[in-house]
């Protein structure tokens, strides 16, 4: 130690490091106590997270308006407070409308594919200290949500349930760098593997180099054995660029994921799926072309001018 820390400090430091290494060893060996500790902590924290989501989500959009309060007097103050309340109600209403719209679209998607789903609200947006991309949702084992279940929104695949607790669950997003999903291309049915990149884009690696991929192709989940972790047919994204390097063993492409992970508020966990594969039924429909009206002008020759 620089200023007389001495042997005691060194001994303490070494003891703490050894303890942490011991913990890592226990966890890597799969000791149940460690999982129990994490589940216990999450069970204790999730009510606070739900409360935080309820209180701070609308407030987050409201900061600029709140700063105006406190400088008014008398009737003006009362009117402003009333106005503020109405605006708050409006924001809450807009928030509820947005959630309703998300819920409707996810139910439409689930209905088309005949998935049995459990809807859930996002209560936390994941870690800001580690590099993982996760969300916490307010549905857990009590609602039938188990590990390795597919999570979707109306736009497509959100991710997969990594941990499930009594009343909450941790979802690994499709944008997470550790995320992998078996895919097929809608229409041509070519199969491949899509990997998350930590951004809104993923990288698709086709398993067959003889086939061709083109920009705009829609990528769907191929599905897993017993539909876990992935049910088949869920839209994932759209090819934005194709890497056609000569001599490459496999063809790769950049895929823009359909889901916007920064605005997630309501998701659905697929807890049951039909025996039949929905195939390409969930491929998002392209924009309907608007007919352009054409104007036809008929020229009629006028009579010959009189002299």
């Amino acid at each position: 130690m620089r200023n007389g820390g001495g042997n005691r400090s060194r001994l303490l430091l070494i003891s703490l490091i050894v303890t942490s290494l011991f913990l890592i060893t226990l966890d890597l060996r799969g000791v149940q106590v460690i999982d129990g500790l994490r589940s216990g902590t999450q069970t204790a924290v999730s009510p606070f997270q739900s409360l935080g989501a309820k209180v701070f989500r609308p407030v987050g959009n409201f900061f600029s308006d709140v700063t105006r309060l406190g400088r008014t007097r008398g009737e003006i103050e009362q009117l402003k407070a009333e106005n503020e309340k109405l605006r708050q109600d409006l924001i809450n209403r807009k928030n509820a409308d947005a959630e309703l719209s998300e819920l409707k679209s996810v139910l439409d998607l689930a209905g088309t594919a005949r998935y049995k789903v459990v809807s859930a609200k996002v209560i936390s947006l994941g870690s800001t200290s580690s590099f993982t991309q996760t969300i916490s949702i307010d549905a857990g084992t009590d609602d039938g949500v188990k590990e390795n279940m597919t999570v979707i929104t109306g736009l497509g695949l959100v991710g997969v349930v990594k941990k499930s607790y009594a009343n909450s669950a941790l979802v690994q997003l499709a944008s997470d760098s550790a995320f992998r999903v078996g895919t097929r291309v809608a229409g041509s049915q070519q199969i491949g593997i899509l990997s998350g990149q930590g951004t809104s884009k993923g990288v698709l690696q086709l398993l067959d180099n003889q086939t061709t991929l083109k920009v705009g192709d829609v990528i769907l989940a191929r599905g897993s054995q017993d539909d876990r972790p992935f049910v088949p047919g869920v839209p994932i994204g759209e090819v934005t660029s194709v890497d056609n390097a000569a001599g490459a063993v496999t063809q790769t492409a950049d895929v823009k994921l359909f889901v916007n992970f920064s605005t997630l508020s309501v998701v659905a966990v697929v807890v049951g799926s039909p025996k039949s594969d929905p195939r390409d039924a969930l491929v998002p429909k392209g924009p309907i072309p608007i007919p352009v009206p054409t104007v036809t002008v008929y020229a009629t020759p006028s009579g010959s001018p009189k002299p």
């Binding site: 130690m1 620089r2 200023n3 820390g5 005691r8 400090s9 303490l12 430091l13 703490l16 490091i17 303890t19 942490s20 290494l21 011991f22 913990l23 890592i24 060893t25 226990l26 966890d27 890597l28 460690i34 500790l37 994490r38 902590t41 999450q42 924290v45 606070f48 997270q49 409360l51 935080g52 989501a53 701070f56 989500r57 987050g60 936390s124 947006l125 994941g126 870690s127 800001t128 200290s129 580690s130 590099f131 993982t132 996760t134 916490s136 941990k163 607790y165 941790l170 997470d176 760098s177 550790a178 998350g196 990149q197 930590g198 951004t199 920064s262």
Partner: protein, 173 residues
């Protein structure tokens, strides 16, 4: 006596941890945002002795490992935080000019936060984790340093006051 004071600080860390998990995590902030708990811990460690820094890092690391959003094995954050807590307190130990200067504290914590996160990433790779987009990691580390510069001056008055109440005034008495 020392252990008792250390234990008294535990509820403070528990509250900051709860704020991090239930409030800060609600906001999607530019560049990936910041970890209030990590900043608080490093600032707290910077004000104490190396012994206290290592112990603080141990306790805070355990809490971070218990977070459900932690991807690594239990003990990974503990290991990193012990070393980070020890290192940051060792740097300023015995130098009152350093600890008495708020700018030094802001700079040292702003440097320590991305280094700690980077060390977590490297250790995670050793345990078989995935790296993801290098550019995204760079942006995340850089913005965490900038956020730290913004957050530390706001936290510092509270942290220094509580820290001195717990560890300095009592030791005189």
């Amino acid at each position: 006596m020392f252990a008792r004071r250390f234990l008294i600080s535990f509820p403070i860390f528990a509250i900051v941890y709860l704020i991090q998990e239930s409030v800060v995590s609600q906001f999607k902030i530019l560049g990936g945002g910041f970890s209030l708990f990590l900043i608080f811990t490093l600032l707290w460690s910077a004000l104490g002795t190396p012994e206290l820094g290592a112990l603080t890092g141990f306790g805070a690391g355990l809490l971070m490992d218990l977070s459900q959003t932690t991807s690594g094995p239990m003990g990974q954050w503990t290991l990193i935080m012990i070393l980070a807590g020890f290192a940051i307190s060792y740097l300023g130990y015995g130098d009152d000019n350093f600890r008495g200067n708020p700018i030094s504290l802001v700079v040292i914590v702003a440097i320590a936060v991305p280094i700690t996160r980077f060390a977590y990433l490297i250790i995670g790779l050793m345990f078989g984790g995935d790296l993801g987009s290098t550019f995204q990691i760079f942006i995340s580390l850089f913005s965490s340093a900038l956020w730290t510069v913004a957050v530390v001056p706001l936290l510092m008055p509270f942290v220094t006051r509580i820290h001195s109440t717990l560890f300095e005034e009592k030791s005189r008495g």
